[in-house]
Subunit: 110 residues, 2 copies
């Protein structure tokens, strides 16, 4: 099954992006591919979600961007996590855990 970004979550996309960038500095296109690969094709971001999200995160000071050149010798914008981004990611991950546990409790109702 393939899930669209909107199928089940909102705000989770930010966490996914930040987590991917934390592991390794990447450009936007690469982030989307990495998420798709790691999730075994379950998670597929489209460009209309990806780039607005990246700009939003940069505007919030959670990511820093600079132009560079990709492995394929293309012009690309590379992102890295700021300190605030790292802190924010920690909080969001914690919220995610609490939230999914709470949902599980509902789903396990008799």
């Amino acid at each position: 099954m393939v899930l669209q970004t909107s199928d089940l979550f909102l705000g989770t996309l930010d966490m996914l992006i930040l987590r991917t960038v934390r592991a390794e500095h990447m450009h936007g296109w690469g982030i989307a591919q990495r998420i798709q690969l790691v999730s075994k094709d379950v998670l597929q971001l489209n460009q209309g979600s990806l780039y607005p999200a990246l700009h939003r995160l940069r505007d919030k000071g959670l990511l820093e961007a600079k132009w560079g050149v990709s492995e394929n010798n293309r012009r690309a914008k590379f992102y890295r996590l700021t300190d605030r981004g790292r802190e924010y990611l920690g909080h969001e991950t914690e919220k995610w855990r609490i939230f999914t546990q709470a949902v599980e409790q509902i789903l396990q109702l008799a």
Copy 2:
């Protein structure tokens, strides 16, 4: 920690409501209280999310509603799952499992 409905998810509210109603027919107010109770206060729905969601689910044919009287002798609208609602709930729950597993894979990146 208390999570607002919007904190992390979109569309999940529908699943939560349907799951709660499946276990026991309830009125809207009761559904919100039950979700809060079962999730140990982590999940708190406000009325501006609850009632639009109930109406939406009814309009989609996933819930049926009828007026009745609550345990406290108040006028209340009771909901029950339709066959389509039951089927829809099954699909959404399956998507939820697949989605959370995929997110976990991202969160466990080296």
